[in-house]
Symmetry: C2
Subunit: 418 residues, 2 copies
């Protein structure tokens, strides 16, 4: 069978699975998730053995240490996958909720019912845990999943999917609900991306290269996360100790994440009191600082920041510092250089807090809180399938609700159109 | 200037317009809409004169009568455009609403604020009224619009846009908020569709050919309406008079619309009592009937329905009739042949009504009401920009809310990530 036919057949199986899952009750879905978690735990030795094959191959191919680390399954990581599924089982089921039910003048009641999207394609790189996490979230929201992991993790993913499918089938769920494209050819991804009308949504998870390639080639809607170029603006009326704590946290608590701060913008009126102290702390914490001329005049021995720096997502202990005339200049900077991900203001001024909240156009806008808090768990959504930097369908952390859509439901008693 | 540069420059102007509009108050937007309406009314002679040029050219080119009718502006049609804008001014502004504001365990409050999408591209065919309608809806929701109408309507559209832009500028709105691609080359559309990150959303309005071409070539998310292959299922427990009224209305009240019925599915237990009467009425109303073998055995002289008929959107007085064993067969038929647009059941049975509502996966699912009621006005959304047959972002009639997105807003008092 050629690759095109193979992928099409798989997608059709997923479609069947989706129709079956859409009719499955919450309690059945939750018990399937619990049994999947149990099976992963019990069979962890099997998973680790299959994972070894991937690791050996990755070492032969000379993949980076970081990549091999992401690829590696340990007893603890398998336990984390299992407990992730249990957590998903405990979240409320979004499917079936009816909102905005209103009586119309002609007597019919019109509302919106939350329903699964259908078939969701997940295209990801080397992390095998995505296989279990994405399956759990899609299944709970009533969607079939078509999984396409990186070829480096083929043995690991195949082993995880085998277990998940066995449990699904034993529990009376159509096996197509968990569909895995288990061939390594890249062409398989290209074929997936053409299946408009069979696959309803694509969520790519990985580096910028993967995401751009998927977006450019897909005829199916894509929900994606490009990059996080995040800002904290320290207003002239900021409380100094709070501003210091928030800026430190936003940069150093976990610099490798998308919601860590890239650029600290400081109002010129507060800069003399604030900057020397906080820059000393950054410097002590090993942060590589890059400043505008005014910053460098105030704090010696740091590099000059460039235009390219202002556009970079560092994912590392590097920070741009810029002194601005006022909040308007700060917001202008964010509009030009930011990636509309996570941007914060520190201030005690009510008017400026409200203006910043309203006018900064980012997936999360925060007053007096660290950008690092832009996260599904922190925001109370439960587990997240990713953070969307798009504006269509979902923006910011995406939980179960973002894996559903709505349809209009009408309860009439004979209404017709005049 | 080449076409690529021209379109890029226009899109950048729209982007500026969008930033300006996002900060404009509701009362300002409403007064701009009211003044636009007034200006269209006052200057209708000018619009009709420009429209004459398009009509003359269309007649020379030998365009169809139906197309020339869609293209024609009359005093009455200009008045309708103006009153459309006034209606939009009276709708509540979705922008700025904050929902789901909740206190998190660490004390910060997290909610979602409704905000404009940004820049919306509208690609349409010969109807000049779309120019005013789409501008009104986009503007009210705080979005800049990039208009690209059919080349047949170039003079008409240019005249309408000139008036709308003059009013916008006089009222202090950035002219980029109403951007018009006023060159006839098709290449301009292709260039528009590449401007990911500058244009946020594309809404094509027109025939299936236009919509497919836009979807296949766009790197920007597209909200679209393919086709409406709509069903009414008459259950064994239907009230006969109600079923008759709903089926007649769904087919003949305005057959040229997307939510008119294509196929009537009838439970075999009720068929002998229901079919002969209703088919006689359809026949008297001039409907071309196509039946399954069982239907033809019951009602003489009608054509046999084909598989292709079941997949057709008629937009005309043609109806397929099929007798089914039960609701499951009806739902199976809808899943296979339908276009997930508008599907209705007529029944007095509570369990089947609830199952049909839940299990039929269409943009609107109706119990005891005509499919013709799937419409923004009927559903209480006010004016609509179209009906989406997609599942991502918007499904069914799209009003002002569907032209917005949300962002997360966080009000903290010093929260950081542990």
């Amino acid at each position: 069978m050629d690759i095109k036919e193979f992928v099409l057949k798989k997608a059709h199986e997923a479609r069947e699975g989706a129709r079956n899952l859409a009719r499955t009750s919450s309690s059945r879905k939750n018990s399937v998730l619990a049994k999947m978690a149990e099976a992963l735990s019990i069979r962890s030795a099997e998973l680790i053995a299959e994972n070894k094959k991937d690791i050996e191959f990755a070492e032969k191919k000379g993949l980076s240490k970081a990549m091999i680390d992401r690829l590696t399954l340990t007893e603890k990581r398998v336990e984390e996958m299992a407990s992730g599924l249990l957590e998903i089982a405990q979240l409320p089921d979004p499917v079936g909720e009816i909102t905005n039910m209103r009586q119309r003048p002609n007597g019919m009641a019109v509302g919106r019912m939350r329903v699964p999207i259908g078939v969701i394609g997940i295209i990801y790189e080397a992390r095998p845990n995505v296989t279990a996490d994405a399956t759990g979230l899609c299944l709970k929201a009533g969607n079939a999943v078509v999984l396409r992991g990186g070829s480096e993790a083929l043995h690991s993913n195949r082993a995880i999917v085998t277990i998940l499918r066995e449990v699904a089938q034993a529990e009376g769920i159509h096996a197509g609900a968990v569909t895995f494209i288990d061939i390594p050819e890249r062409e398989a991804v290209m074929e997936m991306l053409k299946l408009e009308g069979i696959i309803d949504l694509i969520i790519p998870r990985g580096g910028e290269g993967l995401i751009r390639a998927v977006t450019e080639n897909s005829r199916i809607p894509v929900l994606k996360h490009y990059k996080g170029v995040c800002h904290v603006f320290v207003d002239r009326d900021a409380e100094l100790a709070m501003a210091e704590a928030i800026c430190l946290n936003a940069k150093v608590q976990r610099p490798g994440t998308c919601n860590a701060m890239e650029t600290m913008l400081v109002d010129k009126l507060i800069a003399p009191a604030f900057l020397p102290v906080v820059l000393k702390r950054f410097s002590d914490a090993g942060v590589d600082l890059r400043g505008c001329p005014a910053t460098r005049a105030m704090f010696a021995g740091i590099k000059e920041v460039t235009d390219a720096d202002f556009r970079s997502e560092y994912l590392d202990l590097i920070l741009n510092v810029k002194i601005v005339a006022d909040m308007d200049e700060a917001m202008e900077h964010i509009a030009i250089y930011g990636s509309a991900h996570s941007d914060a203001i520190v201030t005690t001024n009510y008017d400026r807090a409200m203006r910043f909240l309203r006018e900064v156009d980012s997936s999360a806008v925060l007053v007096n809180a660290s950008t690092r808090l832009n996260d599904g768990y922190q925001f109370g959504l439960g587990a997240e399938i990713g953070i969307s930097t798009d504006k269509i369908h979902a923006r910011g952390p995406m939980g179960l609700e973002e894996l559903t859509c709505t349809k209009f439901v009408v309860m009439g008693n004979g209404q017709i159109r005049d």
